[in-house]
């Protein structure tokens, strides 16, 4: 993690959701959706974040953009501390940081046309006059591979893949530097997924974008990411270059996760690591290492001490006691 080229620096990010109960709505507990996560994203790269549903990967993405106000921690973007920005300053900062959403059906206002949806970010940030904006929107439509003559259509008149393209054009309109893509293809048909992924890759080169790519599909993440972080129960357990993570996973959870990826070769014989039990509840996470309840290599220390997230060579970060021996 070289400081000089990092665009986004996330340190000790925490997001706890309060659980309220009782007659007076007192706080009776909290869900630790994101629990002390740190990572950095370099300019021009794609950082993939994978994990099971409920592991806090989406919340991490939203907390970075302050769509969920982080409970504590720092998010530094180009040297600006986002968590300390006032409301209006943050609003203006959003020009640089955009988001692509998971559900292309829910993330577009059904009462606005494709044109209005893509034009709105330009309007909001006061970019250009009406005629310039129109030109830009038409250009954006072409860039994301939509028919310009469909600009007047409403979202329900597009297919899922087309809608996601509108969502991407909307994020792209203000020429951001960073795009947080929260499972941008998981709601799409497999045949459409690759089209949208390729589009995202092309746009990255054309517009010099940096992505935080959140997904649960390991092969999708492998395809698009330069580096990959694995999350489990609100914590980052492993973070490394794509190749070293996929070829030599060090954390037992990553190993189990990767062993579940199907290999398109009927003769290949692999050892599958089947995890027993369920993910513990994030409102009452296990003491020590969050994974110790399901880890095949669990030791005594795992139940007591939370492992440090450390660099084990070549920027391969892991949080596991096994490696400390």
């Amino acid at each position: 993690m070289t400081q000089s080229q990092s665009l986004l620096e996330v340190r000790n990010l925490k997001k706890y959701f309060p659980i309220r109960g009782g007659v007076f709505g007192r706080k009776v507990g909290e869900v630790k959706a994101v629990d002390d996560v740190s990572f950095s994203v370099n300019k021009g790269e794609t950082l993939g974040i994978v994990g099971e549903s409920g592991c806090g990967k989406s919340t991490t993405g939203r907390a970075i953009l302050r769509l969920e106000e982080p409970t504590s921690g720092n998010v530094e973007f180009e040297g600006n501390e986002l968590t300390r920005l006032k409301k209006e300053a943050m609003r203006r900062m959003r020009r640089e940081l955009q988001m692509v959403f998971q559900d292309p059906f829910a993330s577009l206002n059904p009462r606005k046309t494709a044109f209005e949806i893509i034009e709105e970010p330009l309007k909001v940030h006061g970019i250009g006059h009406a005629s310039e904006r129109k030109e830009q929107v038409m250009e954006l439509l072409q860039v994301v591979g939509l028919d310009v003559s469909h600009a007047g259509r409403y979202p329900h008149q597009f297919s899922g893949g087309q809608r996601q393209r509108i969502g991407i054009a909307r994020a792209l309109a203000v020429r951001p530097k960073l795009i947080v893509a929260d499972e941008p293809v998981s709601a799409l048909d497999v045949s459409i997924q690759s089209q949208v992924l390729n589009l995202l890759e092309d746009l990255q080169h054309t517009f010099d974008l940096t992505y935080v790519f959140i997904a649960h599909d390991l092969s999708v993440v492998r395809h698009i990411s330069d580096r990959v972080g694995v999350m489990y129960l609100g914590r980052m357990v492993e973070l490394a270059n794509r190749d070293s993570l996929y070829d030599q996973p060090l954390h037992p959870y990553t190993q189990a996760l990767l062993s579940a990826v199907p290999v398109p070769d009927p003769d290949s014989v692999r050892e599958r690591i089947i995890l027993s039990g369920d993910v513990p509840t994030p409102s009452n996470p296990p003491k020590g290492c969050a994974f110790h309840t399901r880890c095949p290599h669990v030791m005594d220390i795992c139940q007591e001490v939370r492992p440090e997230f450390k660099d084990y060579g070549e920027e391969h970060y892991v949080a596991c006691h096994l490696l400390e021996k």
């Binding site: 998971q102 559900d103 993330s107 009462r111 606005k112 909001v124 310009v148 003559s149 469909h150 909307r170």
Partner: protein, 299 residues
């Protein structure tokens, strides 16, 4: 919508944009195919037309007293007969339509505007604003509507205008709570989150994204509420808390005719029918609107 939504026509603007029907026009077209909505709409249009045009054509003024023609049964000269002052009931019923529609329109518009704004604020911001607004609604709803209206008119003094204010006030919580519940649902949608992510100001999110996706039940309730407002105005008129004599208000006409409804039933029947017709028209239209706007209610 069972018809194909896209049209094949291409207009000849410089970008060769296709014509797309807006959701509003789609709704209007669906409404035109809805039978009871069309009947209701027809009744309302008829009433509005009468209220505007007929006074110009009437041979009698609504306050024209003819002492020689008291309590005359319906005839070619006096279509609906005359009342105890010899005034033409047809003229009075027609002028009454003006009053009832006017009261209904302003009272309901007022409660929609105030209720919606309060509901938007309560639903979007939550917290103490929600508590304050929602509890105020609860207090208003704790009283029977008509009793509250009477209390308000009693405070302001009996007049048609004050009756209108009272009706507006008692209907605010209905719209406010409806709007609040819609906003609570809509603000969870991803497109609102997307609007925040883009960097929109709250007011723009509220009025460009949340409101347009929340107003359909308000439309329906507003139409049905119009019928209630007409009834409430008549009720207030009946007990003397609304329109004052000699205004030809339907409720007032009913109460004035109580003394001779056995000997001259037409003094009561025609204003009563007018009230019924108005309420029926708005209820039919409201039901139709609900069918058209809420696809889940279909079938």
């Amino acid at each position: 919508m069972n018809e194909p939504v896209l049209t094949e026509r291409h207009s000849v603007t410089e970008l060769n944009q296709e014509k797309v029907e807006s959701p509003f026009r789609e709704t209007m077209r669906a409404l035109l195919h809805h039978r009871s909505a069309m009947i209701g709409g027809g009744i309302i249009l008829f009433l509005i037309l009468i209220a505007f045009i007929a006074p110009l054509l009437l041979p009698f003024g609504y306050n024209q007293i003819d002492a020689d023609a008291r309590l005359q049964p319906p005839s070619a000269e006096h279509w609906f007969g005359t009342d105890d002052f010899g005034r033409d009931i047809f003229a009075r019923v027609v002028y009454g339509a003006r009053i009832s529609l006017w009261v209904g329109f302003f009272a309901i518009t007022g409660s929609i505007v105030i209720g919606s704004v309060l509901g938007l604020i309560a639903g979007y911001y939550g917290g103490w604003r929600d508590t304050l607004i929602s509890r105020s609604f609860d207090i208003l709803l704790a009283f029977p509507a008509i009793l509250l209206a009477i209390a308000i008119v009693a405070m302001l003094g009996p007049s048609l205008e004050n009756a209108m204010y009272a009706i507006a006030i008692i209907n605010i919580p209905t719209f406010g709570r409806l709007m609040r519940s819609r906003v609570l649902a809509v603000k969870q949608e991803d497109f609102v989150l997307a609007a925040q992510a883009i960097g929109m100001k709250d007011t723009r999110i509220l009025f460009h994204h949340i409101l347009p996706n929340s107003w359909t039940p308000i439309m329906v309730q507003g139409t049905l509420g119009f019928a209630t407002a007409v009834l409430e105005a008549a009720a207030l008129g009946f007990i003397g808390m609304g329109a004052q004599p000699p205004d030809p208000e339907w409720g007032k006409m009913l109460s004035d005719s109580r003394g001779f409804f056995q000997s001259a039933p037409w003094t009561m029947i025609f204003p009563g029918l007018a009230i019924m017709l108005t309420v029926l028209g708005f209820n039919l239209l409201g039901d139709g609107l609900r069918d058209v706007l809420d696809p889940r209610m279909k079938q």
